[in-house]
Symmetry: C2
């Protein structure tokens, strides 16, 4: 068949043919800026109130990313002025590195333009869309340019300011009033100012809430907010410790598509396929590379630019057959359990929660070659409202997600878990649970799979959702164990009251009535109680020094030995404060051990230590564990879990009284965890 | 300050400054293809199973759009072959106009390229992303090109076939094997074939379900599906009536941003601002245009290309101050209540639902100058599962939405409504209701605000969500009225049984015992019953002819007059079949009226008519209304609602027995509707 046949136009084409030609003539390219201009909701700019928030979010994301990259403790100021009913002037200022004069126009005035799109490491912004979309929205809705100011460090450096308008037809910045100036008192940093249509609201999806939640997961950042009523709120930094800077990694071969490898091969500097596979990807050893070429039958000496689709298919196939180590995880920057707790305490203290469940940071996993880490925390009780569904704080790469909760992998993981087993109400064991709790989940990844450019929800990749579920269950176990402990404590307190107060009282009254001497009840009481009681006490010596004391009472008829164990925040440990006759040792993670030997019946003793520094308050004195005694006779401490990593004392003394069967539901859960 | 000051590089720049420069050097443009390649989940390609569906959806969307534009009854065939565990070969063939040889590469091989992006009228595809994203996904995951075939009508036209690969770096098609060929038996149409990684699943989010739902809202389309097991399913067309072709409209000034008007002004052919405002927008009269220029103070003779931002702001401001008619709505193509019902019946008949609530098509509204229409339907009872949440069928521009239900304006509207008032279970009056029901919502608009490029959920614009709520409530009212009627019917049936069977039985037995004659109970029964009873009956004469008969019994002690009213599907009306002594008249919408005068006590008569054609079965004989009698003495028919548009008889005969107060909850609802 001749491939060069000329399609003749008919003199009078029929209607359908005419339409086909008409459609052809209407085909045209759509500029990406025009596309987003027409579909602002995709960028998160759906309503005036949301748009006002989105702009600030994008700017703050950039500021925090930049500060962290430069190891600067972030200091960000957000200011909103109301110009009239629907026009606002917004500015976001940071103390970051500043942006070079040359880079400013494109950073702010061009969509799909940025420095982090190809970088494989955890960062907030990656798409090169956020801040330019903000500026575009301001341009379009108010007709006014944005004003960017930036200064980089150095005596010779001046600050630069310029007005920026985005040409939506060409997706290029239009710069006016480009001027150098002296920025008084500013060593380095950036400020972006713009006018925009908006609506300032309060409540769950407000700018205030967004900044508050940002402070929770960025405890190293100081965020100042000046609202339209000129009220200033400072979210002080909770710690001076910078999170470790995530390292950039090479792509991991796992989950790579054929199209990916073809593109990489086309762009590589390497001269041979083997060098390319070995050097341009992470976790490929020389041996592995050889294996891949052996299985695939592709020549290792082939020039990468000559790689055909057929050979690419073979190599991808071979890669799926060899065992490659999971990607390195220093590209991630999880918050860590102590800092999550600190962040939550810092911001939620006003609600005086009863319990901050020890947060969980899972080990990193990878999906399609992208490493990720899931973290979870639960705050319970106090003044947290108890009559509605629990609040879910969702975070991705340390950015709060305030919208699209219904369609987020985090919400789905929460909804698919049976919270009734962990002490929260939930109808039918499905859906968002009810009760006085706040659930926090943080997903950190080199590539968070957002459901849209607005980065408001995480797509439900199965591997990711199941990791979130595991983190939640582990954290919920901490909550449940707290609730169990509270219940047992209350019961024992009631028993104590009866035995220690009412019984002697009764004995005395009866004795008086009968005119007989008051009997000595101490042995009787001990026999009835039959517990070793661990009672915690916390003394705040000053803002940064706390003394924690555990009084151990032996209300049994025999001498008892017991080991106590606590996981203390390692940041708050001063080893000189860990002394005393019972202290045994502590490991690098802050797992500390004490031993009390042969405590006589009806006596007590004290174990005590001090924590110092700003993390001291993250230790919950209720989180005390024991070993070496039958759990049924111990009150006030939890049995040491099997995964603690050290062996408890073997001296389990049993008497007949001790042999009550456990009514344990907890012990089951750890094993269940992976089956669910 | 000198604006041309040269920023000197420092000999040893400090770390922060060095980083600022390093960041500058890393800044680069991101191609839109690369962006979507890296963020496939945004296009809906998150998992293998979803990707397989998305591709088919995009191709079917295009086929249906093209057929409708050309007024061709669509005939679409979808075929999936399993090549191995995760590779599939997919083809979609239609009988559309075909695509010209020249247009084929860009239609299939270029993202953000299309004919409908700027067109203001309802269509499925608009973004120019869908089918090219499908092909890109196939390319990337299998390394194989797609194969497109197309033929336009005409004896001289040959068919063309070509292999298409998308270069993701440049976003341009790479064409190979471009050949003309003879397509046996094909007059015109397009077929696209591609291999792709995927996973074929069944269930709620399956390809089968998608095609089934597509058939519901596109009753004019014939869809054939050949699944990987080679099982063929044909969703026959339910009607040969093509939906009216939506007309393209000009932009409406309402909701226009300053950026929009500037762009339009820059592109216009008009010579003056006044001509521009008058001719390039819809609903602007000469008088209105004059008013706008008077208020704004901008010169009407200004050249549009000279429009400044300041003047644009003034014009936008003036537009907000004049009253402009809502945009025309012939740009929309709602399905219509009869066809929604027909479509539902056609596909859901296997579930033998007890009731198809009369669907509601709301009057068109506009948001930001974009017209939209909301339609809703409810199917109830029968074999629809009753123990779980109701199923929600969501549609946008006649396309089923199977994903992201949690974050869709439709789901939110369903969840925020108190369904307990309408006969469905719902905990706390919030959330998705429970019960044996399927809820259908269709949103049609010139611009559906999807939450992402994958077009899976509708963003919650307040105006839109509230319209959905209103449509749902109106439709739910139909359901409720049916449920009430059923309940009353059951009660009355029970009463009838007692009165008409047990009472005479008892009378006879007692009389026999007492050796007395059996008393005549007919007056007693009439007195006890005291109702006018309307009993429907439907006879299927043949596939397309139905006789509907209402028997009216007068079980009261007086002669009674009554009017009956029914809304019959106008497509099924043959006026010669509407005769008989009681028939009064019928209007264009199919609202028919009958009148029975002075029906004697203890007698009955019949009102009868016939419906013909394929819409005959959409009439529900239970939907019969009456007027002219006190509602408390009528059973089997509903009181004519006030909005019926005609006046009922005024002769309300009352006796003392009739004056029972109504226990109406329904009557309240119509008025409540707008307050909620």
């Amino acid at each position: 068949m001749p491939s060069d046949k000329v399609v003749k136009e008919q003199a009078e084409p029929k209607a359908k043919t005419a339409l086909a030609h008409k459609l052809e003539s209407k085909q045209q390219e759509i500029s990406v800026t025009e596309f987003f201009e027409k579909n602002k909701q995709i960028l998160g700019f759906d309503s005036r109130s949301k748009s006002l928030l989105m702009g600030i979010k994008e700017a703050v994301d950039n500021s925090l990313d930049n500060c962290e990259e430069a190891n600067i403790l972030p200091d960000v100021t957000v200011r909103i002025e109301r110009l009239n009913d629907e026009d606002y002037r917004v500015s976001i200022e940071d103390n970051g590195t500043g942006i070079t004069h040359k880079a400013m126009p494109n950073v702010f005035g061009r969509l799909l333009y940025g420095s982090r799109f190809h970088a494989l490491r955890q960062s907030r912004g990656q798409q090169g869309i956020g801040i330019s979309a903000t500026i575009m929205y301001g341009n379009i809705t108010t007709g006014k340019p944005a004003h960017a100011m930036s200064k980089i460090e150095g005596a010779d450096e001046v600050a630069w300011g310029m007005d920026i308008f985005i040409d939506t037809k060409t997706n290029r910045p239009v710069i006016t009033n480009d001027k150098a100036f002296t920025w008084e008192g500013k060593e380095h940093g950036t400020k972006i100012e713009y006018t925009t249509k908006g609506r300032y609201i309060s409540g769950k999806q407000s700018i205030f809430e967004y900044l508050k939640e940002t402070a929770i997961v960025n405890p190293h950042a100081q965020i100042t907010f000046i609202d339209p009523d000129n009220t200033k709120t400072v979210f002080e930094r909770a710690t001076d410790i910078m999170p470790p800077r995530p390292k950039e990694i090479k792509p991991h071969p796992e989950g790579m598509e054929i199209g990916d490898i073809l593109k990489y091969a086309n762009n590589t500097q390497q001269k041979t396929m083997k060098a390319f596979i070995k050097n341009d990807f992470s976790r490929i050893t020389d041996r592995l590379a050889s294996e891949i070429f052996e299985i695939s039958g592709v020549s290792p000496d082939l020039k990468p630019s000559k790689l055909t689709r057929e050979d690419a298919i073979k190599i991808i196939d071979a890669i799926s057959k060899v065992k490659i180590m999971a990607p390195p995880t220093d590209c991630l920057s999880p918050i860590g359990d102590t800092l999550i707790k600190k962040g939550l305490m810092h911001v939620l203290d006003g609600l005086r929660p009863e319990y901050y469940a020890t947060p969980v940071t899972r080990a990193p996993k990878a999906v399609n070659g992208n490493p990720f880490v899931v973290e979870a925390g639960i705050v319970y009780g106090g003044d947290i409202p108890s009559d509605g569904p629990v609040q879910i704080y969702r975070f991705a790469n340390r950015v709060p997600l305030l919208f699209k909760q219904g369609d987020c992998a985090i919400t789905k993981a929460v909804s698919e878990m049976d919270w009734r087993r962990y002490g929260l109400e939930q109808r039918g064991g499905k859906g968002i649970p009810y009760g006085p709790a706040i659930i926090l989940v943080h997903v950190a990844s080199t590539k968070v799979p957002f459901t849209s450019e607005g980065k408001e929800a995480v797509a439900s990749f199965p591997e990711l959702q199941s990791e979130i579920g595991l983190a939640l269950r582990l954290c919920a176990r901490n909550l449940k164990s707290h609730l169990n402990k509270q219940e047992r404590k209350n019961k024992t307190h009631a028993k104590f009251e009866i035995v220690q107060e009412i019984l002697p009282d009764m004995a005395e009254k009866v004795a008086t009535h009968l005119n007989k001497p008051v009997p000595d009840l101490s042995r009787t009481i001990t026999k009835i109680m039959n517990v070793v009681w661990v009672e915690p006490e916390v003394k705040k010596q000053n803002k940064k020094l706390r003394t924690i004391t555990y009084t151990v009472y032996n209300y049994t008829t025999q001498p008892r030995s017991i080991r106590l164990h606590a996981q203390v925040p390692k940041e708050a440990v001063n080893l000189s404060l860990f002394t005393g006759e019972y202290f045994l040792d502590m490991n690098d993670e802050g797992k500390a051990n004490w031993e009390i030997k042969d405590l006589a019946p009806s006596t007590s003793t004290k174990v005590s230590f001090e924590l110092s520094g700003e993390m001291a308050d993250t230790f919950d004195a209720d989180d005390i564990y024991f070993s070496g005694l039958n759990p049924v006779i111990v009150m006030g401490a939890e049995q040491l879990p099997g995964d603690w990593g050290i062996k408890g004392l073997e001296i389990v003394q049993t008497s007949e009284d001790d042999l009550v069967p456990e009514d344990e539901e907890d012990s089951q859960e750890v094993e269940d965890l992976d089956d669910e």
